[in-house]
Amino acid sequence: MIRHGILIAAALIFGPLVGGLISGMDRILTARVQSRIGPPLLQPFYDVIKLLGKEKVVVNVWQAFCANAYLTAASIAVVLLCLRSDLLLILFIQAVGSVFLVVGAFSSTSPYSQIGAHRELLQMLCYEPLLILVAVGVYLQTGSFRIAAVHALHQPMLLKLPFLFLVLGLVLTIKLRKSPFDLSTSHHAHQELVKGLLTDYSGPLLALTEIAHWCDTALLLGFCSLFWATNPIGALLLVAVTYLMEIWIDNVCARMNWRWMLGYGWGMGMALSLVNLVWLYAR
Amino acid sequence: MQGEIMDIGLDNLLGETARIKVEGYRFVTISCVEINEIRMELLYHFDRNFQLKHLRLSISRDCRAPSISPVYFAAFLVENEIQDLFGIRFHGLTVDYDRTLYLEKDVKTAPFCKFAVVEKSPVCEEKTP
């Protein structure tokens, strides 16, 4: 019980912390790729603290509800990941967060916010099935949806699920809002939807969504690390390489539109998962 | 000034424009010059392979001019501009901003005019061609 308590507390504190640090590193690396120096490592934290201290400005009070719910769901997902709970359940809870984010964006009447919300829904439509299929792959490999079973494996899952790992990478690109999938909102605002679904979240509420996004990042990278769960160094390495790839992709791609995303995401993702799953079934 | 200049009247403006279009001229722009308290001058500039052609139309300040935007779509913008800045009204505009292209709602003057700045409602119409 105490062990669980510690784990939960650790997840609640370190989940966003790790996510924030990764985001800070991301910004520095991206800047370097663009021949810039970039902000300090702790920049995301400065941003969030500043946002928390800003004037409370709201468009619709229910946005406050949705931002809170998003954060709650995202952190529960991280907690469950740390508790090595059921993978499918974690994915469902993670989806709850996204849905609330979208509903909050809908509650503003600004068309930018609403179209952003729609695009986010389309992004979810694109990556949710893929995530589930990855989880199915994990199940087929370990015989269980529990993360604990992954840790009980003797050799890294990556060897058996290489294509599904690629699918997870695809999902990660969408979820982290990297080009070519930064459709609903993006880190820098030069896009047709201004800030998309985050347009009308402001001040402290924006801070909440940002923290929740860190949690999401931590969660997905945690998921990635499961593919080399046998060795902590291997896991770390895998996550690092994956994330570097994400940054690289972000910097060598233009933003595409959602039709392309659905076509490519589903086409590529489903095909890769199919190949990998069929192979697993056949075994 | 480079190019050929033709003086035309309100009644043959549209005819000339259409003819010029058939000859393959492109629309460049319209320049409006305020001559005195009554007269304004509209210069229609056209171009074909860097050969300019100008139609010079002298018009009374309180007359409506026919719009050439049905012939040259690109003219709608400059005609709207002249409406705003000089107060000459065009009729038959494909997109009529009704003096709101640059002006706010409450502006009743023609800001580019030196002599008579207050907009009057047009009193004379040209003969329909």
Partner: protein, 358 residues
């Protein structure tokens, strides 16, 4: 089918300048685009009543900061023609050099913004990084980065020393190599092509009839470039306009990208043939009469109509800027495009609203 009405601008991150487009969409496909102007209109043409014809150079330079040198050049050439002033040959060559430098920085700026319009941030950064070199040349030779203010009636104000010309040539060399590196990305990258090829297509006929100018027109396969008028020193410099035939956003991008190299070539030629001599002649008298003047700006042909009455104040200064001519193209291209293509299409004409509204 559900309707969406979006106010696109005046404040919008992809638009560097305030213009408003009221977009009506059905399922992310635009059915109607109505523009609204007047957010930048200042009424500069009327300033001729207050400023004399020499001072007006400073005003026309500020019609638009990006093409300021070419505005001033066009204005000066017009007045010179009206007053019958023969500018010295060195001044003409210097005008070519600075105007082509201006075109380069404008095109590089545009290439960056264009890359940004489809979300390619790193490419934006790279183009703007290269652009800084051009601005450095500007600053070194004229004292200012953007509004170089070298034109006067009768010639130019600044001269280039031999070292400066050498410096320009070596800088251009490095600009050229760096640009070559970006060529594969901006022209051959899959994602870039996906976002630009076939977007906002204008046929040659459409482009011609709408009265378009500049790269927008040339990308549709019409060979028309005001530099063919052989103003300034262009009669001594070998020059063929860059033309593409596809008429889409990709073709416009390609035209501008190639024009940067063309400008490098033109500057090299101009520096190579730079004659010695005076850089300006004294101006006497007052302008009188009317004149038209045309110059190829980065965005296309600018058209000046100047009427003077023998006083030091001009009677009328009329500026038809390239974007003003290209806005109708926007209204033709936007309907039928997707929402995500709006920034790409809008930027593909290289809009300069402060030019348009003056």
């Amino acid at each position: 089918m559900t309707r969406t009405i979006i106010p696109f601008g005046p404040q919008h991150p992809v638009l560097p300048e305030p213009i408003h487009l009221m977009l009506t969409l059905d399922d992310e496909v635009i059915t109607e685009a109505v523009p609204a102007f007047g957010f930048v209109h200042r009424g500069l043409e009327k300033l001729v009543e207050i400023r004399d014809f020499h001072q007006m150079i400073y005003v026309v330079e500020r019609i638009c900061g990006i093409c300021s040198m070419l505005h001033a050049m066009c204005y000066c050439q017009g007045i010179e023609e009206m007053m019958g002033i023969e500018t010295p040959p060195r001044a003409r060559f210097l005008r070519v050099i600075w105007s082509e430098l201006h075109r380069m920085h404008s095109h590089l700026l545009w290439l960056g913004l264009f890359a940004d319009s489809f979300g390619f941030e790193s490419l934006f950064m790279q183009f703007w990084k290269i652009r800084e070199k051009i601005l450095d040349i500007d600053e070194a030779t004229t004292g200012n980065r953007i509004i170089v203010s070298v034109n006067v009636i009768g010639g130019v104000r600044k001269d280039l020393t031999l070292e400066q010309t050498r410096g320009i040539l070596s800088e251009l060399k490095s600009v050229e190599t760096e640009l070559k590196r970006l060529e594969t990305t901006i022209l051959n990258d899959y994602t870039v092509q996906n976002r630009t090829v076939g977007k906002g297509v204008l046929t040659a006929k459409q482009a011609y009839e709408l009265g378009l100018v500049g790269p927008t027109l040339r990308a549709s396969g019409v060979m028309q470039d005001a530099r063919m008028l052989k103003y300034a020193a262009f009669d001594d410099i070998a020059f063929t306009p860059v033309v593409e035939t596809d008429g889409d956003c990709y073709a416009r991008c390609k035209v501008r990208f190639r024009e940067v190299f063309q400008s490098i070539d033109l500057i090299r030629q101009a520096i190579g043939k730079l004659p010695n001599g005076e850089i300006a002649v004294k101006v006497k008298g007052r302008p009188d009469g009317e004149v038209t003047s045309r110059v190829e700006q980065p965005r296309g042909e600018v058209f000046y109509y100047i009427r003077a009455n023998g006083t030091k104040h001009l009677e009328r200064l009329r500026v038809r800027t390239p974007t003003f001519a290209n806005v109708p193209a926007l209204l033709t291209m936007l309907p039928g495009a997707g929402l995500s293509d709006v920034p790409v299409i809008v930027l593909s004409i290289d809009p300069c609203i402060s030019c348009t509204e003056r």
